[in-house]
């Protein structure tokens, strides 16, 4: 299994370069190779996931340098799970982009898409903090290109803001890394975990600063209040399939928080204590409230979904902030669910925009082609994201509420009240978009042109993932429980690095 770990990083890198160099003028070739690449990557991700379930964490030494000196990739259950999630989402998003012709609206869509996948899987797989920064930059620079794909005034201006924001984030990341390095003298995550636990009290203040700066960076990526305001403007103007793919980008922030604050700076470390959870929980709850209010007040469907994405990040960070195995398992389940649900709604917003020319929620407009079908899909997505039964959002929120029993006084009312607000917001939006549309119809206009089937296949595929997540909630949860248990008992992860004995 050894060399398979690097395939999710190397394959898209080679493929992306090949697409730029050899087939930049042939869209069909780009589509074939891009899609084939993503299919192969999904297969590899499945194989890696199976290996991670069966075997203990595995290390991959880049350049064969031993662990604390060289850069390592680490395959454990969490990393494999997120790589698999990324690839499955990417497969459907790519089908959608091909089906709607989004990839033909600008150049290099498929190359950027592959580079984005490279950055994402690299960020999930790496076992080195500085390498995490590098992969963050890889996925960001690809996302800059994808974000302004198709061009246009609004998109470019939002793109400049998005880039500026993330550059500030990268600068903070570097400050945090340098601070941590200056105290511990290492950047390998497993080595850091060992060194942080043994740190003399004199160095603890600097380390705390570093840990807090890192949290700020991950909060920026994960759109946590007060660093959430870049998200609605960016995601609402990004091309539909790109916004759907970005559903997993905010999850990179969540992943990094889970990884860093269970492995390197766990609440049990004397230098850190409960500090991270104490900061994260209120911020997550405020994020949830702001997201829900945004859902109520959004003027277009895409903005509504963007605010719903913020709310789902709030829910996710609430579960993460509890830092117990049970809550982390619930958070992972909600992470899987909210990625798919957000992606479905972003794709639907794009379908409505393409059929109607506007996604406005301020007035009812005539019905769109295949309105009934889109309405049904919107209904399913909204139910899932708001957390109503029977879809996985309900299961996820239930798990989080159950895990937060100790903080029931603060967490429960916020989650339940924001769920209600989101249901109201989605209901109002759905009735304006699909229901009142019929009342505006005085004379049936010309029959709209037939629409391609592939985009709907993609949306149905993602909905199928949600249904599968609901139906197989039991087996999925068993896997996630084991994943979360691994995170809170990191000895095998550290042992896999084969660090030299501490002097």
């Amino acid at each position: 299994m050894t060399h398979w770990i690097i395939v999710p990083v190397v394959l898209p890198a080679v493929l992306g370069a090949l697409i730029v160099l050899a087939m930049r003028n042939d869209l069909l070739l780009q589509r074939v190779f891009g899609l084939a690449g993503t299919v192969v990557l999904t297969g590899v991700a499945l194989a890696l996931f199976r290996a991670a379930l069966l075997y203990p964490p595995e290390v991959y030494l880049l350049g064969n340098w031993p662990a604390p000196f060289g850069i390592v990739l680490m395959l454990d259950r969490l990393a494999a799970l997120l790589v698999l999630l990324t690839m499955v989402l990417a497969l459907f998003v790519q089908l959608y982009a091909i089906g709607t012709g989004w990839d033909a609206q600008g150049r290099h869509f498929h190359a950027l898409f592959q580079f984005q996948l490279m950055g994402l899987s690299g960020a999930f797989l790496t076992g080195d903090l500085f390498n995490l920064f590098v992969f963050f930059e890889v996925l960001l620079i690809a996302s800059y290109g994808l974000m302004i794909h198709g061009g246009g005034r609004d998109r470019l201006r939002a793109g400049v803001q998005y880039v500026a924001f993330n550059l500030v984030g990268s600068t903070l990341f570097l400050f945090a890394l340098a601070t941590i390095y200056s105290v511990t003298g290492t950047l390998n995550m497993a080595d850091l975990a060992v060194k942080v636990a043994l740190l003399p009290p004199g160095d603890m203040a600097l380390l705390r600063v570093g840990a807090m700066l890192l949290l700020l960076v991950f909060a920026l990526k994960g759109a946590l209040v007060p660093l959430q305001f870049w998200l609605p403007g960016t995601y609402a103007v990004a091309p539909g399939p790109v916004a759907a793919l970005f559903a997993v980008m905010t999850k990179v922030g969540a992943y990094a928080v889970i990884r860093v604050y269970t492995l390197i700076f766990p609440p049990t470390a004397p230098a850190i204590g409960p500090m991270i959870g104490d900061v994260l929980l209120p911020a997550a709850l405020v994020t949830l409230v702001i997201g829900a209010i945004g859902v109520m007040g959004a003027g277009t469907l895409a903005r509504l979904v963007a605010f719903a994405a913020i709310a789902s990040m709030g829910t996710l960070f609430t579960a993460i902030a509890l830092f117990t195995p049970q809550a982390t398992a619930a958070a992972l389940y909600y992470l899987l669910h909210s990625t798919f649900a957000t992606a479905i709604l972003f794709l639907l917003a794009d379908l409505v925009l393409a059929r109607r020319g506007t996604g406005t929620l301020r007035q009812a407009l005539p019905p769109v082609a295949q309105g009934g079908l889109l309405a049904a899909l919107f209904f399913a997505g909204a139910i899932a994201l708001a957390g109503l039964p029977p879809l996985s959002g309900f299961v996820g929120k239930l798990l989080i509420l159950q895990a937060a029993r100790d903080q029931a006084a603060t967490v429960w009312p916020v989650i339940l009240a924001t769920s209600l607000l989101m249901i109201l917001g989605f209901a109002a939006a759905g009735s304006t978009l699909f229901w009142k549309a019929h009342a505006t119809l005085r004379d049936p206009g010309p029959e709209p042109p037939a629409t391609a089937a592939l985009p709907l296949v993609a949306v149905f595929g993602l909905t199928g993932c949600l249904v599968a997540l609901t139906v197989f909630a039991g087996p999925v949860l068993r896997v996630l429980d084991a994943t979360a248990a691994d995170l809170y008992a990191p000895a095998p992860y550290i042992a896999a690095n084969a660090l030299p004995a501490q002097d």
Binding site: F130, V134, E137, I141, Y144, I148, G150, G151, G152, R153, D154, R155, L156, R157, A158, G159, V160, Q161, V163, A164, L167, V168, S170, T171, L174, F175, L177, A178, T179, Y181, S182, P232, G233, A236, V237, G299, T300, A302, R303, L353, G357, T358, G359, T360
Partner: protein, 117 residues
């Protein structure tokens, strides 16, 4: 020496933060560049400031200077250079499309719809 480096990092960060809070794109880009210079110096200093020592241990050397931070700085410089190029191109594109380089996107409408189609 330490004072010089520390105040250099501090000054550049302060100037960078001031600049990225401006309303136009050009100062913001300059501010980002200054921030990246500050962080490069900061990373360099995180390997401890020493003078005239080799980066690789040799026989008879009195000590060594940390080579890793120098490699990290190199990576950070390359990345921030690439990122600066990207944001300059995008800001230029946005300027040519809109006719101004104000950073706030709010000129009459804020619904962010119909982008580019």
């Amino acid at each position: 020496m330490e004072y010089l480096i520390a105040s250099g990092v501090g000054l550049m960060t302060a100037a960078g933060v001031y600049l990225i809070l401006r309303r136009h794109t050009f100062p913001v880009i300059l501010g980002l560049a200054l921030l990246s210079y500050a962080v490069n110096l900061f990373i360099f200093a995180s390997g401890r400031v020493v003078i005239g020592l080799p980066p690789i241990l040799t026989k008879g050397a009195a000590g060594y200077t940390d080579p890793l931070t120098q490699a990290l700085v190199l990576t950070a410089i390359v990345i921030s250079f690439g990122m600066s190029a990207v944001i300059v191109m995008m800001a230029l594109g946005a300027f040519l499309e809109t006719g101004h380089d104000r950073i706030d996107t709010n000129d009459g409408k804020n619904d962010g719809e119909g982008a580019g189609d």
